[in-house]
């Protein structure tokens, strides 16, 4: 069952094309990481999925049209759009009261239990909390909602490494199960590399790469090449090459791991490295997109 299904999703702001005919299918029980440079169209795609912006093309989220059925859809979909959008004037207890009041699937006890593990006081106003605590509170609210789809748009921007790690740990340990689906965008790709099950690279409104993390790991190989094998390695057509500490590091797409092991130290690239390879390299873009 597809949780999100899009065909030819298109959106332009004046002459700027934000989404250039995207096809998308997200299965239930997956955690999709949507990665791309600033202005790639990530947030626009998420806004369309959440019914926050109009679009052209076909889009169904949990079988519904997000633009015309946003309030109905939000019973089954949760989102954290950007950090710190919780109203600053509200007290923590009021936030709990309000969400409990309007959301039929909110389990207040669950949110309270999560909050007791933090330093957040019920009587505090949100403006008095640190940025990390606001994110914890938002996460507590969201995790207590029995939703089918959770959308996270830069949920940990500006947070220190401890809060970021806690955020994704809580998400995986206390929230995620195979009946839920998560879509997350972030620039801090190293945080999510071990969290996501699927990766989508997007640039200039187009999908550059769309694969599962298993495919990612079997398909992309990075080799720190021994100096004497550099020419042989280059002959295997790496999609990207960089220098580090005087050694050449070559990134290969779909080349046999055993063959590469003879040329140097083989490892799985980070998403960031692949990102740089595909985004910074027009030829690479074409290769990735062709897959």
């Amino acid at each position: 069952m597809k949780v999100i299904e899009a065909r030819g999703l298109h959106k332009a702001f004046g002459t700027t094309v934000a989404l250039d005919g995207i096809d998308l299918g997200v299965e239930e029980g997956r955690i999709l990481g949507l990665v791309g440079p600033n202005g790639a169209g990530k947030t626009t795609a998420l806004d369309a999925i959440l019914g926050l912006t109009q679009y052209q093309g076909e889009l169904k989220v949990l079988g519904r049209d997000p633009w015309s059925e946003r309030d109905q859809l939000m019973r089954d979909v949760c989102f954290i759009s950007d950090v710190a959008v919780l109203p600053r004037w509200m007290r923590v207890s009021q936030a709990l009261d309000y969400v409990a009041g309007v959301h039929p699937r909110f389990d207040r006890a669950k949110a309270e239990a999560f909050l007791t593990k933090t330093d957040i006081k019920r009587s505090s106003k949100i403006r008095e909390l640190s940025k990390g605590m606001v994110t914890q509170l938002h996460l507590a609210l969201v995790m207590a909602i029995d939703a089918r789809l959770l959308v996270l748009d830069e949920p940990t921007l500006g947070l220190d490494i401890l809060y970021r790690k806690q955020f994704y740990d809580s998400l995986l340990n206390d929230y995620f199960d195979r009946s839920r689906t998560i879509v997350v965008t972030t620039h801090q790709v190293e945080d999510v590399q071990n969290v996501i099950t699927d990766l989508m690279l997007i640039n200039r409104g187009r999908i550059v790469l769309n694969c599962s993390m298993e495919d990612f790991e079997s398909r992309y190989v990075e080799v720190t090449v021994h100096p004497e094998h550099v020419a042989a390695a280059r002959a295997l057509k790496p999609i990207h090459e960089r220098q580090m500490l005087g050694r050449s590091i070559l990134l290969f797409d779909g080349v046999d791991r055993k063959q590469l092991a003879a040329l140097g130290d083989v490892h799985t690239p980070s998403i960031a490295d692949l990102f740089v390879a595909l985004m910074g390299n027009p030829a690479g873009q074409a290769q990735g997109a062709a897959r």
Partner: protein
């Protein structure tokens, strides 16, 4: 809210109806509470002005025994001379009570205006609109809950507070009179407080119905303007009125705007008694209310129609709204 919808796949649908479904009014109720949490001025400002007024009245009430003797003692010479117009002295007595209700009403009007100017602007300014839109609350519910503040909540506060304030004032006056050996019974008998309270109830309802399009207009502009909501809401109207006046030497729009602000008194009250003498607005007897005329005045229904259209536009507009 109905979760049934054509074309929703079965597996999602079966999941969607399992939890206890909320009644339609629950999100509205909680959204109105949320507005009151956010905007303390909704009740603080009327309460503050009532407290200040009460303080002033408490000081003035020291003179009451003296005034009561002047006005009500039948055997004083002054009373004999002035007895030809009992209504005048009644008005003198009723005046502070009428002023109390009017002042609370005026403050509530101002609160309502400022609230409406910020209603759909503040949530975009502080980006919290992204949080509100992440919850299963429709734009219609949100806009209605915001409109309910000036149209329902504030009028209720005005009426309740006026009644409480007037009762405290009367209690205060009676105590002072009794302590000074004056006739509390005269004040009790002469002050038509229940009648005044009924007129306050009628007046509050009349004014809010008449002013509804003003609040709704300000709300619509607050959802549209990026900044300077008040200027966008007011200056274009004044400019058009001025242009009309200069170009055509007419003041159709100007008098329409003025009528929208103060026209309710002419539409809802008989401001002259049966002899054609203008009545004092400090004490309007029940006989001078004209609910029939008010309910059949085109100004009322036209205004409500415009208010409904403005609200519908505000609901539609909120779908497209993003943080500023």
């Amino acid at each position: 809210m109905n979760t049934q919808s054509n074309g929703v796949p079965e597996s999602f649908e079966s999941h969607a109806i399992t939890p206890a479904s909320l009644s339609q009014t629950r999100p509205l109720y909680w959204s109105i509470r949320r507005e009151i949490w956010e905007n303390h001025s909704i009740y603080v400002a009327p309460l503050a002005i009532a407290a200040v007024y009460l303080l002033g009245f408490a000081v003035s009430v020291i003179w009451l025994p003296h005034n009561m003797r002047e006005v009500w003692m039948p055997h004083t010479m002054r009373e004999m001379a002035a007895a030809h117009n009992v209504t005048d002295s009644l008005i003198g007595l009723a005046m502070p009570y009428a002023h109390a209700a009017m002042l609370v009403g005026l403050v509530a009007f101002l609160v309502g205006i400022f609230y409406s100017l910020d209603a759909l602007h503040g949530e975009r300014r502080d980006r919290s609109i992204l949080f509100w839109k992440s919850l299963p609350v429709s734009d219609l519910t949100t806009v209605l809950s915001k409109a309910a503040i000036p149209l329902v909540v504030l009028p209720l506060i005005v009426f309740a507070l006026s009644v409480i304030l007037q009762q405290i004032m009367r209690l205060l006056s009676l105590s002072v009179l009794v302590m000074n050996g004056g006739s509390a019974a005269t004040l009790w008998a002469r002050l038509p407080l229940s009648e005044m309270e009924l007129v306050t109830l009628y007046g509050t309802a009349v004014i809010v119905l008449w002013h509804a399009p003003i609040y709704c207009w300000f709300m619509l502009v607050s959802g549209w303007a990026r900044r300077a909501v008040f200027l966008w809401a007011v200056v274009p109207l004044l400019a058009i009125a001025a242009i009309e006046n200069i170009a055509f030497h007419t003041s159709f729009l100007g008098s329409m705007l003025l009528g929208r602000l103060v026209g309710f008194s002419e539409a809802a009250f008989d401001l002259k008694d049966k002899n054609g003498v203008p009545i004092d607005s400090h004490f309007i007897p029940l006989t001078q209310l004209a609910p029939g005329r008010f309910l059949s005045s085109p100004g009322l229904w036209l205004g409500l129609l415009v208010a409904a259209a403005l609200l519908a536009a505000a609901v539609r507009q909120r779908r497209y709204r993003e943080p500023l």
